[in-house]
């Protein structure tokens, strides 16, 4: 399924869960790793996500070049294991911006209709 586009830059797609994870990383501003992303999603969304699902998505985002990671220090709380801290890359920024803009456009003027849902 190819998508016809005249622009040189390829369009950037985000799955719904990818979108949520990217937003969580943006919110966490430098402290985004498994546990914090999970609790952000737990608190702010209706989903009960597993760490595995988050890592799966993070892996994919990393492969696409949307996010990059650095390693944190090991702590005793983590059994001496390091954290993997994520931040958005420019490509991720663009994808996020595009998706959010799409959402905004689609929800514009739907205020009342959405509230009625």
């Amino acid at each position: 399924m190819s998508f016809k586009s005249s622009a040189a830059a390829p369009p950037l797609y985000l799955g719904e869960f990818e979108l949520l994870v990217l937003l969580a990383i943006l919110r966490l501003d430098g402290d985004a790793y498994g546990v914090t992303i999970k609790s952000a999603l737990d608190v702010e969304t209706s989903r009960d996500v597993t760490l595995g699902a988050i890592y799966k998505t993070l892996g994919r985002l990393e492969d696409k070049g949307y996010v990059s990671a650095r390693l944190g220090d090991p702590t005793p709380q983590r059994g001496g294991r390091r954290k993997k801290l994520y931040r958005l890359d420019p490509l991720g920024h663009r994808a996020l911006k595009q998706s959010v803009a799409d959402l905004r456009r689609l929800t514009r003027g739907l205020g009342r209709a959405l509230e009625a849902l």
Binding site: P74, Q77, G79
Partner: protein, 895 residues
């Protein structure tokens, strides 16, 4: 671990962590494990505590593992919400409903499929139920494995199993330590007058412990007491349940009454349980076996059966070792009588049914092959159907069904089909086994145990599941592997048609090969049976009737009275209307009875102990040879002049002469033999050989004495008529009772029936195999037809183009038939190789079942290959002719 103080801070479950450490993908392992630990510690600090946290750890880690291990689904697939209660079970139920609906919508497919499966599963269920009942079900006694039959053998004389002499039995009972009980038993008959016409009753007679070994505790009354096994005190009887019901209407007051058996009063001391089984259906009573003083020392007369119960923990092999030591000791101690005699112990089940093992094994294999052919056919039909359903399946996939889910649905459909076929097959099997047993009540041992019990039902259920997997899995996986997008885009034409075409061709080749193997088996058994039917038994059977009568000893103790009885009865019968000839014999060939005596030759040095010779023995009336159509080859037959008081004479058969007088004239030679081995007899004639035990017998030595010189109380009266011999049964009874009103006639049977009964097993084997072969042939033909018809329908366009470009009908016909010939030929080659290989591997199993045919008989193999080719060609001609009638214009337009 509860209550045990834990040192240090709480730790996550070690097993879960170890599992994670092993199974998580390397890329995320360290960080995910760290995250799990961190979250665990956070939770452990909360209310709910460590236990809640550990529980969470397990759940979170397994769920994470599942999420990471799940194959990456394309992002375009819409998220199908998992509705609460949408369980696996619910899916299955939905699939079953849907499968049933779909099958109902394709009645043609369904009917053919269910019938095919019913044949396959039914045949397997039937043969399994018989095999299970005969070979596998434990015998209905306590610890049946401990029950052992013990015989003597004399391998130097070629007797692998022989009756036991009383003195030997008494020594075994006194000396063998492997058995908790050893008992001798036998069967005897009583003349019983009762209220109505006199009849002959069959009784089991056993020494102390016999009934106990076989759990034979009476329902009413008591068992035999120790002193009742002594001569003179043994006139006590336990009645069988059926006889008690019949004669005494089930009244308890029958106990302690006397009944008259063979003219002597017997006291009824007990009534046996209704469900007690041993030694045949026609058993009326049990009496003690008391040995006379003469019998107690008789070591050379072998006439007892011996049964024993092994002590706890003693194996049959251990008992065999002990018995062979015992045999060696007796051999050394009594060389005159025991030289060369060994002891054989056989577990009761083996003794009862061991001979049926090869037949049942071969039949089980054959029905297994039939089921495989049926499965191949079903798989073929499924593949064809899946092609038609590829759009439906692609749509299912597009709206969110995973491949596994599609396989699951298709397999459930197969299972529905298999279960329907299985249910019908169960009915078929029930009908087949019960009508078989009704037709051949005595052919199979333990036939009362054959039935559809829980084990058989479990077998059939398992078979249904296995069958569904066998014929459903490959088509289901093939269907699920289709590239769905292409299918949706392409329209009606299937995606992976080539793969399916190959699979279908492969299945047809398999079917042809399996059918050939089955047909080869059937052909070989049929040929063996045909050879058997051509065997000359050595005597005539047509229009001849045999009636067995046994005179009670006290009344007929005097031999003169015995001779008088039979001569008067024979004369009376000869004068009856419709009777052309009458003769007497002590044993009728093929009847299953025999008498064997040792022989001594006058003028030759006595044979070394253990080197003795013996022959089958008959005492007969002078008319016997003429009556039976046995030719007198040399000398003369017996005459009425050979009576008590005239010189003692004997007649021997051709084989006897070849063995014992190879270079001499036997006439005039003098031998000692027969019931009274001290009397010297002169051989006056030589007659033709007779098959005695079975039509497959090798020639054996046989000898005859005149009845009036060697009378026997047990004789068969033979009658010949111009009409149906069975109609003479009444004549026989009337004549016997005119001579002695108290004397019953035991069994009346035509000689034709007797020979036919003896050949029943080979006939049934051949018939069953032929039926299975025919089913396989039919299924293979249907399979080939299906593949050819489908291939023609798929190639309609191509054929149209070819015809437009100038191909004529002949070319098209050749093209289509060529494909069929290729598939058939491949199947034939594989099948022939398989048949030859199987014949070699199963040589030892098959050879005892076959008569003068090798398991790899070339002409039979060639014959069945020709039959199969012809049938296959017919199956292919119909679709091939359809191909030639393709209208090129129509074919091209329809695309």
């Amino acid at each position: 671990m509860i209550g045990r103080p834990r040192a240090g801070p709480p730790e996550p479950p070690r097993l879960a962590r170890a599992l994670m450490a092993r199974l998580l993908p390397a890329r995320d392992r360290e960080f995910l494990l760290g995250d799990l630990d961190e979250a665990f510690h956070a939770r452990a600090a909360e209310p709910g505590g460590v236990a809640g946290a550990r529980h969470w750890y397990w759940r979170a880690s397994l769920a994470s593992l599942a999420a990471l291990r799940r194959r990456d689904r394309a992002e375009w697939r819409p998220h199908v919400p998992r509705v609460k209660g949408d369980s696996v079970m619910k899916n299955i139920l939905r699939d079953i409903r849907q499968g049933a609906r779909l099958l109902a919508r394709a009645p043609g497919f369904t009917v053919v499929a269910v019938l095919t499966l019913a044949l396959g599963i039914g045949a397997n269920t039937a043969i399994f139920s018989v095999t299970y009942a005969i070979l596998l079900k434990p015998l209905p006694y306590t610890q049946p494995d401990q029950i052992t039959l013990i015989n003597e053998n004399n391998l130097s004389r070629g007797w692998t199993s022989f009756s036991v002499s009383p003195a030997n039995f008494l020594d075994w009972r006194a000396q063998a330590t492997s058995f908790s009980t050893l008992a001798a038993y036998g069967s005897r008959t009583f003349n019983y007058a009762g209220a109505g016409t006199p009849e002959r009753l069959r009784a089991l007679t056993g020494t102390a412990g016999f009934l106990e070994i076989l759990d034979g505790t009476p329902l009413h009354g008591r068992g035999f007491q120790p002193d009742e096994f002594e001569p003179g005190k043994d006139q006590v009887v336990i009645l069988s349940h059926a006889f008690w019901q019949r004669e005494f209407g089930g009244r308890i007051d029958a106990l302690n009454k006397a009944i008259t058996l063979n003219g002597l009063p017997y006291t009824i001391v007990g009534v046996m349980h209704d469900h007690w089984r041993f030694g045949g259906r026609d058993l009326s009573m049990f009496v003690p076996r008391a040995f006379t003083a003469g019998e107690r020392t008789a070591r050379g007369a072998h006439f007892l059966n011996v049964i024993g119960r092994l002590k706890d923990g003693v194996s049959v092999d251990a008992a065999r070792t002990e018995l062979s030591t015992l045999a060696a000791r007796l051999d050394a101690q009594y060389p005159d009588t025991n030289k060369g005699w060994g002891i054989v112990a056989t577990p009761l089940l083996d003794a009862a049914v061991g001979g049926f093992r090869p037949t049942l094994a071969v039949l089980l294999g054959a029905v297994g092959l039939v089921l495989l052919v049926a499965c191949a056919n079903l798989a073929n039909m499924h593949l064809a159907r899946a092609t038609g359903r590829s759009r439906e399946i692609a749509i299912r996939a597009a709206i969110g069904a995973g491949r596994l889910r599609i396989v699951q649905q298709l397999l459930t459909e197969s299972l529905v089909l298999a279960c329907a076929g299985g249910a019908l097959g169960l009915l078929l099997a029930y009908w087949a086994t019960s009508s078989f047993i009704a037709a051949y009540p005595d052919l199979l041992p333990r036939s009362r145990d054959i039935g559809m019990d829980t084990t058989v039902l479990a077998f059939t259920t398992g078979l249904c599941i296995l069958t569904a997997l066998l014929f459903g899995l490959a088509p289901a996986v093939a269907a699920a592997r289709t590239r769905f997008n292409e299918t949706l885009k392409d329209g009606a034409r299937a995606g992976s048609g080539r793969l399916r075409g190959l699979m279908r061709s492969g299945l047809v080749v398999t079917e042809v090969a399996l059918a050939l193997i089955l047909l080869a088996g059937a052909g070989i058994l049929l040929k063996s049976f045909a050879q058997l039917a051509r065997v000359d038994p050595g005597f005539q059977t047509g229009h001849r009737l045999s009636a067995f009568t046994i005179l009670p000893r006290p009344k007929y103790a005097d031999p003169i009275r015995v001779v008088d009885f039979f001569e008067r009865a024979a004369a009376d019968m000869a004068g009856s209307p419709g009777v052309q000839a009458v003769a007497l014999t002590s044993t009728v060939p093929i009847s299953g009875n025999d008498e064997i005596y040792s022989i001594e030759f006058e003028g030759r040095p006595p044979l070394a102990p253990g080197k003795g010779v013996s022959a089958l023995y008959y005492t007969i009336s002078p008319q016997y040879f003429d009556f039976m159509g046995i030719p007198v080859l040399k000398g003369r037959p017996f005459t009425d002049e050979d009576r008590d008081g005239t010189p003692r004479v004997a007649i021997v058969n051709d084989t006897f002469v070849k063995l014992h007088f190879p270079n001499e004239d036997p006439i005039g030679k003098r031998i000692r033999m027969g019931r009274n081995g001290s009397i010297v007899r002169e051989i006056v004639g030589v007659v033709g050989n007779v098959k005695h035990y079975a039509l497959t017998d090798k020639a054996t030595a046989q000898m005859y004495e005149p009845f009036s010189q060697a009378p026997s109380q047990a004789m068969s009266i033979l009658l010949k008529t111009g009409n149906d011999p069975a109609a003479l049964a009444g004549t026989v009874r009337a004549s016997v009772q005119r001579v002695d009103p108290e004397q019953p006639v035991a069994s009346v049977i035509t000689l034709e029936q007797m020979v036919s009964d003896a050949g029943a097993l080979p006939r049934v084997q051949a018939g069953l195999m032929a039926a299975l072969g025919a089913i396989a042939l039919l299924l293979a033909a249907v399979g080939l037809y299906g593949v050819m018809a489908y291939s023609v329908s798929q190639r309609t366009q191509e054929i149209g183009i070819r015809m437009t470009l100038g191909a004529n009908r002949g070319t098209v016909l050749r093209m289509v038939l060529g494909q069929a010939v290729l598939l058939t030929a491949l199947g034939l080659v594989i099948g022939l190789a398989g048949a030859v290989a199987l014949g070699r591997v199963l040589k030892s199993v098959l050879e005892p079942m076959l008569f003068e045919v090798k398991p790899t008989d070339i002409t039979t193999l060639a014959g069945v290959a020709v039959i199969l080719s012809v049938v296959a060609l017919f199956a292919a001609v119909i679709p091939a002719r359809r191909a030639t009638r393709v209208d090129p214009i129509q074919a091209l337009r329809s695309s």
